[in-house]
Subunit: 395 residues, 2 copies
């Protein structure tokens, strides 16, 4: 019996790609992880989440352990709507769906929007796991460069105009992380935000806005595209992974009810009553604004430590973008293949993510790398960058 | 902007069906729920799950709240493998994938096996949520009747033989719940199990075995098809929803590594570290065999109460199958449309699921209904059947 002979066309096509997530060697145990896009261990509210569980089960007994029925699940929807107002978005009935993290949200959106001939516009570089998801559905992409002011919308306009003149297909949607982009850490300016919405209207495409980091600003709040969207063209993806805990798997989609209805149709892991009710109970018991302020201060301080260390310990030929929030710093080492350099870095005891993994055409990313200041503590960050400096000088 | 114009072909096709799950009117608050396929509230181990969380977070701190990293997640895999041995299945490396409940497992399997022209064989009647999932991918089904000895494999053989002679397509897989079937409560005999595996080999199809209820036997353990499968034709779906708590969303697929690899590719809700680690911690702290024995005794007693009440309070024209485990009793009321009867039953204060929802051709199910003895307590069961008896006599 040949197992593959039973496979659907969609999995056959998807299996042609590299296995998802197989983009980093395994890290030595004592390695300083400047690769990990995780919250710092001490910033995960272990005790409060434990208290939330105890309080929830005392209050609701078995309800959150059944398929449905916990009043806290509706509460979570309300809490997320309240947070959305803080981000400039007023969501109506039927415009919100809770998902198992942002990644499931992106997959479900891909599933309702992408056919095998669909063209998708992405940022270059971009979040590789989203790219991997899209590649399960199509092989047709256009890649638009990102600079220190975010997505180069002038480039996008040029490409769209050319394709239209030539009678080529236009993208069905653009995937963008406008605020504290993964991996570059950069933020799209207000002018470019307006421009990209104008282009969406003119060239009739949708925007998938990934806002996983948007609340982790150091100084200035950036208005999501969704908050500026007058035509329901934006499908917004949010997450509590970066501000509470990724292991709870709480994300969401905010979009027009027609999109939400279609997305919900394919969501077959059902709801996660225990995780959702625990999160609602947790949010009920804390002051989220206080927590966000604490996180902003802490991550800004960690970012500053990283930036100072970069200046002090890295050769002058190395450059980077200065982020205004989020988790990441995007570094360019001219003339160096950062993939090859990683072996040496790991031997020295520091990890990063080689830039090539964030590009559709991996050749474009060989001189770049992504550093995360979220996970390691401040002394590890300094030590990690010292090690990286040594490795660069030696190679 | 016309939102539907952006939809993929797959969601356009799926949206032609009725909305998923929209098959029951909302129940009055004080209704006796003989419709709910939920565990009884007092059988959900609230306190032990709470203790499991407290113990887990004390032991592992933030680890189960990150994307990965809790040693308990690997432990859960081992625990499920141990349970599988009890059910007669020895699973090797790469043959097990944990999912968010059985429903996600079924959806992922559908996604790797079904194209829009694929033929799927189902039992008649069958678990309606699985049928809804399959209908998101194809509209081509053959329906094989179930009797008190489970799937009528002679009928299946006849249909397969005819299709082969006529040059028609053969099914890619058969979806079956061989043990304590939902909704009929019946169990496939050993002879039929052997027969269906022979047919799978002869006509080259796969078997999707749903074993959500298999451990809840009253007297006799039934060997899963997967345990008798020598050709890797069976994809087995298990769940902890019925024996621990549905709200934890822990299910799994056991199948040949090639299937598991393909399924994992499309699983984009990632893992659920907190739920999985909590479940592992819980299973570590209890004696599951003791718990299963307690559940078997309790559900058998509840089933007996239901069967006695049926005999005592229902007219002689009503008949049913006597189950040997699981959650359900399948009832036939000759000459009565159970869908219409439901309105009266709800007014009287008792609910059931009308039979039609379990059939591809709903006309076949009008005289049937599914009663669940899992959720309501014994006095409610008696009272509910008394009410049902009244409603039948009056209408």
């Amino acid at each position: 019996m040949k197992i593959e002979s039973f496979f659907s066309e969609s999995i056959k096509a998807a299996l042609k790609n590299d296995p998802p997530g197989e983009w980093m060697p395994s890290l030595p145990d004592d390695c300083i992880r400047l690769s990990s896009g995780y919250p710092a261990p001490h910033l995960v509210p272990v005790l409060q989440l434990e208290e939330a569980v105890v309080s929830l089960l005392k209050e609701e007994q078995d309800l959150p352990l059944h398929y449905l029925g916990s009043p806290k699940m509706a509460k979570l929807t309300e809490q997320i709507k309240e947070r959305s107002v803080e981000r400039g978005m007023r969501l109506s009935e039927g415009e919100l769906l809770i998902t198992s993290g942002a990644c499931q949200a992106i997959d479900l959106i891909a599933r309702i929007l992408i056919d095998d001939q669909t063209l998708v516009a992405i940022e270059s570089p971009t979040y590789m796991e989203a790219l991997e998801v899209f590649q399960n559905y199509t092989e047709h992409f256009i890649s638009i460069p990102v600079d220190e002011y975010g997505l180069q919308t002038e480039q996008l306009e040029k490409v769209l105009g050319e394709r239209k003149r030539k009678g080529l297909s236009l993208p069905r949607f653009l995937y963008t992380i406008p605020t504290f982009q993964n991996p570059t850490g950069t933020t799209m300016t207000k002018e470019r935000r307006k421009h990209v919405l104008e282009l969406a209207s003119k060239y009739n495409f949708l925007i998938l806005e990934d806002d996983a980091y948007g609340e982790l600003y150091f100084d200035e709040h950036s208005m999501p595209l969704k908050a500026m969207d007058k035509e329901s063209r934006v499908l917004y993806v949010g997450s509590l992974s970066k501000v509470v805990a990724p292991g709870m798997r709480i994300g969401w989609v905010a979009a027009a009810p027609e999109f939400i209805n279609a997305i919900a149709w394919f969501k077959k892991d059902l709801d996660h009553p225990f995780a959702q009710a625990t999160m609602a109970s947790y949010l009920d018991r804390i002051d989220l604004k206080d927590r966000l302020n604490m996180l902003r201060d802490t991550y800004q301080e960690k970012c500053n430590v990283l930036l100072s260390a970069l200046k002090q310990y890295l050769p002058k030929s190395v450059s980077w973008y200065v982020p205004n929030g989020g988790y990441f710093v995007w570094v360019k080492i001219a003339g160096v293949d950062t993939s090859q350099l990683l072996d040496h870095a790991l031997k020295e005891g520091v990890s990063y993510v080689p830039g090539k993994y964030f590009f559709l055409d991996q050749q474009e990313g060989t001189e770049y790398l992504r550093l995360s200041f979220s996970f390691a503590d401040e002394s590890e960050i300094v030590e990690g960058i010292q090690k990286l400096g040594k490795v660069i000088e030696r190679n």
